[in-house]
Structures are given as C-alpha cells and as structure tokens.
C-alpha cells in the first residue's frame, strides 16, 4: 500500500521557494533514496513530512491520513520517525534513557517503564551500543551519537523512518558497518525508509528507488542503475564536480 504520499508540495520562506511542486509516493516496505546537491531542498522535504515546518502548498498523506497541517509530535505518534542531519541527542541523559523516553512517547507507546526499558535494551543491542547504555549521551563519539540518533528514532516504534545523511562524516569502514546495521534494522523492525544521502555507493546499495531533487523540484526518479546514467542527473548533479 502507499504509505506516504506528497502531492504538489511546496515550501517558500518569504519570497524564496525551497521546494516547488513536489509529488512523490512511498510504498510500504520500500527503501527510497532522496538525492540532490546541497540546497536542493532535501532536508526541507523531511521537515515538511515530519511536521517541523508547515507546507506552503500541497498535501501530505500518511497511511490514508492527511498530515500536512499537523504538529510534529502528532506526526511522530502516527508512526513517522526521523533523524536530524545535525544529531540532537539528549546529551545530559544516559544512552538508555534517550531511548526509553522515545519508547514512552512515540507511535508504539510502551505501556510501562519496564517494557520501554526492555525494548530499548534490545534496540541498543542491535545498534551495538548496549555496552554504553549507562553513559551520558553527550560523551559518545560522533559515530556513536549517529547510531543513537537512529536507535532513538526506532525506539518510537515507527512505520516510516526518515534518515537524514546518517553516513556523513563516517569513514569507509564505518559506512559499511552502518549500511549493514540499517539493512538489519529495517528487516527486524519492518521499516519503510526514506534516505537522504550524498554517499552514492550507499544509496545504490540500499535503495530500490531514487528521487533526485534539483533547486527544490523533482529532476528524475527511478532505479539506482538508471539514475546514475540519466543525462539530466549527470549534468545537474555530477556535471561540474571535481570528484
């Protein structure tokens, strides 16, 4: 079924439009990649879906319900979780508590602290942070905090997970490990994913479909293999790049 649907969504700040006339669907169980140069509007799209910013035009539907005018916390409770490009851990609380709070308030609301605790410990195990459960989140390394960000989002028990450049700043080995972890998490928790990434190889490996944004509008959409050879994408995105 179509889990997420954006219809002619637009967002402008003052006179500047960050996103224009953007329509796109996500089927349940898919992994869709969102690609584009910096400033193309990718994170804005996430903010619109997650409700941290209201849409200027258009509609957003999630599991048959219209969500574009809803506040962020309600959207989270409906089943959409997200990570932030610049991670936002609860630094003064323990790693475990970060997840427990999410489990107590999110979509799959834990009925008691002990069940929230159990769920959180299981997730920490999956992401490899179990041995750091009682450390303050602020003391983790960047890689650790990125894993925490994902883990906390999953602790809400979402149906749709929006990952915003979770691989940025990681070394090649860390990227490989992260990809493996994401794939595993997706299977284990039956997640639908929309992934913003700059690391092309990762997008190719992870996604069944890629959407390319350019100056706030959809430029191309298709299977990774097709996107990579698409002329419009190459000239817009790869064209003048040195790497």
């Amino acid at each position: 079924m179509t889990l997420l649907r954006l219809t002619n969504v637009g967002k402008s700040y003052g006179g500047v439009s960050a996103v224009r006339n953007f329509s796109f669907d996500v089927e349940e169980g898919e992994v869709v990649g969102l690609m584009g140069a910096n400033g193309a509007g990718k994170t804005t799209v996430f903010s619109l879906i997650a409700g941290t910013q209201p849409v200027t035009t258009g509609q957003i539907w999630f599991a048959g319900q219209r969500i574009d005018q809803m506040p962020a916390y309600l959207i989270s409770r409906l089943g959409i979780a997200r990570t932030f490009q610049i991670v936002r851990p609860f630094s003064g609380l323990t790693v475990l508590d970060n997840l427990v709070i999410a489990a107590l308030h999110g979509h799959d609301r834990a009925p008691s602290r002990s069940s929230a605790d159990a769920r959180s410990r299981a997730i920490l195990q999956e992401v490899g942070l179990a041995d750091q459960a009682n450390r303050l989140a602020g003391t983790l390394t960047l890689a650790g905090r990125k894993r925490l960000e994902i883990a906390r989002a999953i602790a809400t028990g979402p149906r749709l997970l929006l990952l915003d450049e979770v691989l940025a700043g990681l070394t090649a080995t860390e990227v490989a490990a992260a990809l493996e972890m994401i794939r595993h998490l997706r299977e284990h928790y039956q997640l639908t994913l929309v992934v913003i990434e700059h690391v092309m190889r990762a997008l190719m490996k992870l996604c069944s479909r890629i959407v390319v944004l350019h100056h706030g509008e959809m430029l191309a959409e298709g299977a990774p293999a097709d996107i990579v050879v698409d002329q419009r994408v190459i000239s817009a995105y790869f064209g003048k790049r040195a790497s």
Partner: protein, 309 residues
C-alpha cells in the same frame, strides 16, 4: 530513572518517615522559636520542591514564582472570615494553579531566556495590579485576627512540604516527567519523538503553582498581615532560585539541602545584617552557577559516581 523495583524507593520512603518523626518531636517538645524555624524551613522546602518540579526538570527557569505565593496569600485574606480557614487554603492553591495556566499559556511559547524575564515581568505586573486594587478599595494592608496557632500552621506546612517532595519524586520518574527532561535537553528532538511539549510544559507549570499558592495562604495566617509589596516580593522568587541552585534542582534532596543551608544562614544574619545576608546570597548564587551548577546535591552525586568531568 530506571527499574521500578520497590527496593529502589526504600531510601526515599525511609527519609520521609524520619522527617515525619523529627517533625512530630518538634511539635510536641520544641519551643516557639524552634517550631517557627521549622516552619520557615518547611516553607522553603515546599516552595522550592514545587518550583523544581517545573523549572528544575524542564530547564525553563521561572523567576517570578512569588506571584503564586502572593496570589495564594491574597485569596486567603480576601476570603478571611468568609470561608473556613482550611477551605481558604485549598482555594488559594487552586486559584494559583489557574493563574499559572492563564499566565503560562502565552508565555510558555516563548523561548528560554525570554520566558525567564517574562515570568519576572508578569510577577511584577500582577503585584502592581493587586496594589492598585487594594488602593482602590481603600486598603493599605490587611490585618487578620484569630488565625490558627503556630503549631497548627507547622502541621499544615509539613503536609505541604511532604506533598511537594513526593510530587517531585514521582514526577521525575514518571512518563510526564520524562517528557519534561526531554524538553530540557532538546525541545525540538522531544517533539520529534512524540512529546506534546506545549501541553506538558503548561500542565506541570500549573501544577507547580498550587502548593506555592497554599504556602502563601498559610504564611499570611502566620504573619497575620497582608501587604502586596511584601507578599509578591521578588526577594521570594530570588530566594527560591538561589536555594535551587545551591542545593541542586534535579532531584528531591537538592532543595532540602539548599533550604536547610539558607535557613541556617538567615538565622545567623537576617536579623542583624539583612543587606549582608542578601549580598552573601548573591555571591553564593553567582559562585554556584559558575563552579557548581548542579548544586550541592549534584556535586555529592558526581563524587559518589566517581565521574570524571
């Protein structure tokens, strides 16, 4: 914050029981002076525990909590000899809570530092309104005759102090409290994991005003005199915040330690050199903010854990 096993609550329950025993002994055997000091101590405990339930957990510092104290006192004196005393106290608390919801609804939407100075401004605003009302009624202060005895007030204040302590203890470990802690850490992330931050903040803000309202009512009975400039005095707000910073505002023992320290200091200095007392408080506040922001209790806890800074 974890593990609901009952044994974890034993230290808290034990400490409460000890406090109750000590208080009972004080009522029975203490002289007037001792009981009145005890009353003052309990008053600050009740005020600061209530303040900490909102400001300590959420990080939204209320610099105008005296407004709830003052409102409670005003309700009490206005209803004096119209309502039975203990009903007046309860009403005082409820009106204070309602005022908090009224004031909080617009103010909690403003970000951190604005909220702090806004609470101060609101407290002063309400103060001057009450001053004007009293002036319009031709009153320059109100006298209460036939108020309950010192020991009765002590007993009532004990109830409030215990209640406020229990409320903070339970809240901090509850789902609602965890939402506040998340707000303190990162409000946007809190919204992203499903916390209705606006409602959570407003609810607890309202809750945090009820006991201070009742405390204000009791203290108007104690002083048998009401004067708005005094009852709404910013010194009360300042003292609450200072006690919280000194003692720690993250969990229950903090305000207790801070209040005990403050009462001891004030007994030494207030009568003889009130300005010096305030200066010392100011210096302590600044020093603790810079060197021990988690308060005495927080420092004890981190030494205990052996945490490296």
């Amino acid at each position: 914050m974890m593990r609901p096993a009952l044994s974890e609550h034993l230290p808290f329950v034990g400490a409460l029981a000890a406090a109750l025993v000590a208080s009972a002994a004080l009522i029975v055997w203490g002289d007037e002076y001792a009981v009145s000091i005890g009353l003052t101590l309990l008053m600050w405990v009740a005020l600061v525990q209530s303040w900490a339930a909102f400001s300590g957990l959420s990080g939204y510092i209320s610099l105008g909590h005296a407004v709830f104290y003052g409102v409670g006192a005003y309700v009490m004196v206005v209803g004096w000899q119209i309502l039975p005393v203990w009903l007046g106290v309860i009403l005082a608390g409820l009106v204070a809570g309602a005022i908090a919801l009224l004031l909080g609804w617009p103010s909690l939407r403003v970000r951190g530092p604005y909220f702090v100075i806004l609470t101060f401004g609101l407290a002063e605003f309400v103060k001057y309104i009450v001053v004007s009302i009293e002036a319009a009624l031709g009153r320059s202060g109100r006298l209460l005759i036939g108020t309950p005895s010192l020991r009765e007030l002590f007993g009532a204040m004990l109830l409030l102090a215990v209640a406020s302590t229990i409320i903070l203890y339970v809240l901090r470990r509850s789902r609602l409290g965890s939402g506040l802690l998340a707000v303190r850490e990162d409000e946007i992330a809190a919204e992203a994991i499903g916390i209705n931050t606006a409602r959570t903040k407003l609810l607890v803000f309202g809750l945090s005003a009820i006991i201070p309202g009742m405390v204000g009512a009791l203290m108007s009975l104690r002083f048998t005199y009401f004067e708005p400039m005094q009852s709404f005095s910013p010194v009360t707000s300042f003292t609450i915040v200072t006690i919280a910073v000194l003692g720690g505002s993250d969990d229950v023992p903090g305000p207790l330690l801070g209040a005990a320290f403050l009462v001891a200091l004030s007994e030494l200095l207030w009568a003889r050199a009130p300005e010096l007392y305030m200066i010392i408080l100011g210096v302590l506040l600044v020093s603790f903010v810079l060197f021990a922001p988690e308060g005495i209790y927080g420092k004890l806890r981190s030494w205990n854990r052996g945490e490296a800074q």
